[in-house]
Symmetry: C2
Subunit: 606 residues, 2 copies
């Protein structure tokens, strides 16, 4: 893709962007905030810059906001000015210091939420001024550069509110007028972000004035009884429309409970929550809207929708202000969902110069790789091993799970919870055990455990046992063993992800050692020992200091989009920018997968 | 208001329009159809004309649809090209003969409904084409120049429809995708218009392919038990939210019954009715949406909304296709409603060269006067006399009502219904009786009936009687009399309207004799004898051949907007063009009203 250079004066900061990017957005990529109160919608007229390289065609918005004299001097609204060749422009010093917060992975986010509250002093109706109540509000908002849509439910309450006085607070979300409240209510402006995982749902109630989280809560997705992973959920959905409704109701109940919990914790009325940003995989978003997800599970694996959705809260069933809005992030593909788009936003992967690889490990491993130049994404069917599924003593990362293992002269275990009594092995414990077995020389490159005999003399030789069926195993405790079959499961899971990574790197023409960073995202990623991940070959063999656990970046990305319309617009542009590779369409996938079953040679990862 | 001249070549047709009108709309006013499939939305690219007077700034739509070479030759999309000075342009001969129908008062309407059905052959999903179902449809529609919004309820059904095959019919209403049906359903494309009167509701089911009415039905507004006129209805609404809900449900039930009736008569499934256009007075539209109408009844008489509304049918409760749209016409003022805007559309009053006066007589008399130059509207509080209210033997225009009277040597009555047995007097009968009494010399200019004595020798002298209270009356039959008090009521009613007309003419600086036409609109207008209206002074003293009953132009206007998006856009522009005069704000209203109580001198109307 051809890139154009934009140079911002007087700083001289330069940025490379695709054709058609606006000067406003490009400045934002470059970390250079241009003043704006409308967030780049072309309505506030504050983002003008002076184009100095050559004349840019003025747009209707320029004519609306700028004097002819200024237009002739080269001034243009940067949010309307698209780049079609290399350009230079002069940016005036901002009139105000934009408020910003650090969010995601060290990203500075300007506080410009899509929710805007405006205090309006409306003129009293008079015989000579027969404007309707609505028109009075519309005119007052037009002065602020806002054009609005109004639904019938708001109209129903308008007359009563305006009877109480002529000072009102209008709340505009995007181009929707969602509330008109008597008096000044600007100090109660909240939004809520949801990361709807197949397993866990996380809600963050955000004070949109400060960008700070007012409360955070998470809980198990109430769809869990209908299946552990998306394929099982889709299987249930395929039993009929009432099953889809059941799944819809379950996730909605989960979300509404979390909303209640966060609102109660922060003492916020749900009616003061005006917008919700939702991320999650494509299946979760389909089910949230009650849309049949079956085509996601059946070849050729297409979703009914991947596009962002902008919905009325009451139509979704989310119990914030009924006229409030619910924004669903877009997905990249049926298996690279809106949560991954949020990951990319929070990490800045698609806008930085560094070459980065992001892995979100779960039953599907989503893989995103690239930089501002070019980004490729794919999803690898890892299976349930990392969530403890198909593992003899596997379990989820809850109380009693072995989450870390060190093998020296003896076995040292790190167990989740207070009583430290191990009950099983979770994903990070599994990776640790296998990596430690490799490093201890007890596990061969091809994945075969040594027998006790073969390990004679090794301090842990007596831990190598055989089960009733004669299958080899390594005993972590008297009751908890890791069997040869468990190791096979892990090999399959990591081989799928490693293959996905290879395919992505190949698409970009890159070798693993060129990667500047490997980011492990998602709650699981947070607990994986980066060293172990490298030893088992889950991540490429890069120096361990380049591997970072970045936490729940999906939640962070959703929060960023809630507090910043610019960030949201950027994220919503990712699906068009990021190239999706369907792994099942890759010709030599099986051959590569089989080659990746083996563990890396120790000298390669030592 | 400054007007600009646009000349269309090669015909040389010229039209005068306000600044900012598009070449496309102006051509439409001039009766010159410019080819277009998108109806002037800037998306089809078919409406290009060549500007020859001077260079017009090209718009982004021009760049999108026209080659640079053509732009340089002066070609512009006429629907995007606004007029800011006198202009000439060349219109190519249309590539196709646009389909049209004569509607309203002799108006030729192009069939370009806002509802569009498109047959789409969608590519089958494949591994290398991971577009979502929605995107496949979006892309296919983009080829036709259509950009669409999609709601969650449509998404819910999309997967199932697309599973049935890749040939589908997409229905787009405005910019909303409202249906995706398997196979080719283009021959089932219907819309329904409603004229929601305080008394009567009229529904017209329209085949949008031909513009023809498939069925028409009307019935009494089920709100009637809650009050005879808008003030009574508002009075009921003011008793609380449950009363508003009661009124909303009543009118909605009326409309849904009519929808059922027309659909059954024409054998049309309600799911094949994709759009409804609704006109009615502002109070009726408020109640239809459940909006508190109280401010309409209280000085300074403002509405909560006057603007057009574009709503989802399910949100309104209208039982066409749930995702279908309901378009409410805009109102001009709290008492000059959307029905009057539809009257103006159907009569062409605001776009013609003739000076016309339109009167819609009911409990309020709405008055619109002017031409394409300038239009003024007002509403006069006529009271219930014309609907038989406050009249001793008054009744509505139903079975048994005396609707026409001729007084010669004897009394000849025209009675509604088959058995011809008179039961009372309706509005048109009242006007006729009074006019005939004036012409017969039995009623003085000041409104006083002669006594039997004063009329001695007159063939009808014995009809002049006195009631028990000594009040004079004229006996139409043995049981049915018109009393002196009834005549007073009529005087009040006609004086209010005559004053409104005077105020409107004064605002325009016109004398009554300059009027080219006087149009009596509404069902009541249809039955008024134009000569009688002139004799009693309800309409100005213009030659009787200039007075026309134009029928239910509100219904006609709604129907026109249903079959033609251009007409709708024009109508929706009327409120900004038409000047509203609030009669209660006119300083000398009372003096004028009192002067108008008297009847015109016979020599003035003879």
């Amino acid at each position: 893709m051809r890139k154009l250079q934009i140079t911002y004066l007087p700083s001289g900061i330069a940025v490379h962007v695709p054709v058609g990017t606006t000067l406003f957005n490009a400045a934002h990529w470059a970390g250079l905030p241009i003043d704006s109160t409308c967030g780049g919608r072309g309505t506030c007229g504050k983002c003008a810059v002076r184009v100095v390289s050559r004349e840019a065609e003025p747009t209707p918005a320029d004519h609306r906001h700028l004097a002819q004299e200024r237009i002739e001097m080269g001034w243009r609204l940067s949010c309307r000015c698209e780049v079609h060749e290399d350009m230079s422009c002069e940016v005036p010093r901002p009139m105000r210091t934009p408020r910003a917060a650090t969010m995601g992975v060290g990203r500075l986010v300007l506080l410009e939420p899509n929710v805007r509250k405006l205090l309006l002093e409306l003129p009293e109706p008079a015989l000579e001024d027969h404007r309707s109540h609505l028109e009075r509000i519309r005119d007052a908002l037009a002065v602020e550069g806002l054009e609005i849509d109004v639904g019938p439910s708001l109209l129903r309450r308008l007359a009563a509110t305006l009877a109480d006085g002529v000072t009102v607070t209008a709340t505009v979300v995007g181009h929707h007028l969602v509330a008109v409240e008597a008096g000044d209510t600007r100090d109660r402006t909240f939004g809520v972000s949801f990361d709807v995982g197949t397993t866990t749902v996380v809600a963050t109630l955000v004070d949109l004035r400060s960008g700070a989280a007012a409360a955070v809560a998470s809980t198990i997705n109430r769809q869990a009884p209908f299946g552990a992973d998306v394929i099982a959920r889709i299987g249930h959905a395929m039993t009929g429309p009432q099953a889809i409704e059941q799944l819809r109701a379950a996730v909605l109940e989960t979300m509404n409970d979390l909303l209640d919990e966060t609102c109660a914790a922060a003492d916020v009325a749900p009616a003061h929550v005006y917008e919700s940003v939702v991320v999650g995989n494509a299946t979760m978003l389909h089910l949230l809207l009650g849309v049949d997800p079956r085509s996601i599970a059946l070849s050729p694996f297409v979703a009914t929708f991947l596009e962002p959705q902008d919905l009325r809260a009451a139509d979704v069933g989310l119990e914030i202000l009924p006229e409030g809005r619910v924004a669903l992030f877009p997905s990249i593909g049926a298996y690279v969902g809106a949560d991954i788009v949020a990951d990319v936003l929070a990490t800045g992967l698609a806008r930085g110069e560094k070459l980065r690889l992001l892995i979100d490990v779960g039953t599907n491993g989503e893989i995103v790789c690239g930089s501002a130049e070019r980004v490729v994404a794919t999803a690898a069917p890892a299976g349930p091993a990392f969530e403890g599924g198909q593992i003899l003593h596997g379990m989820r990362a809850t109380e009693g799970a072995i989450e870390g293992v060190v093998l020296g002269d003896q076995v040292r275990l790190q167990v989740i919870g207070s009583d430290r009594e191990p009950r099983g092995i979770c994903g990070s414990g599994l990776i640790d055990t296998v990596a430690q077995l490799r490093l201890a020389g007890l596990l061969k490159e091809n994945g075969i455990l040594l027998s006790g005999e073969e390990a004679t003399g090794h301090p842990l030789a007596d831990r190598l046992v055989e089960d009733a069926d004669g299958v080899r195993a390594f005993a972590l405790t008297r009751d908890i063993v890791l069997s040869q079959l468990d190791i096979r499961e892990l090999q399959s899971a990591k081989a799928a992800i490693a293959t996905g990574i290879q395919v992505a790197l190949d698409a970009l023409g890159l070798a693993p050692e060129q990667l500047d960073e490997v980011l492990l995202a998602g709650s699981f990623g947070t607990y994986i020992n980066p060293e172990s991940a490298r030893v088992v070959g889950l991540v490429p063999s890069v120096p361990v200091e380049r591997i970072r656990a970045v936490g729940n970046t999906a939640s962070e990305g959703a929060k960023m989009a809630l507090v910043s319309f610019r960030e949201r617009e950027m994220a919503f542009g990712f699906p068009a920018f990021i190239e999706y590779v369907e792994l099942s369409g890759v010709a030599d996938f099986n051959e590569r997968f089989i080659r990746n079953l083996a563990f890396p040679a120790l000298e390669a990862v030592g």
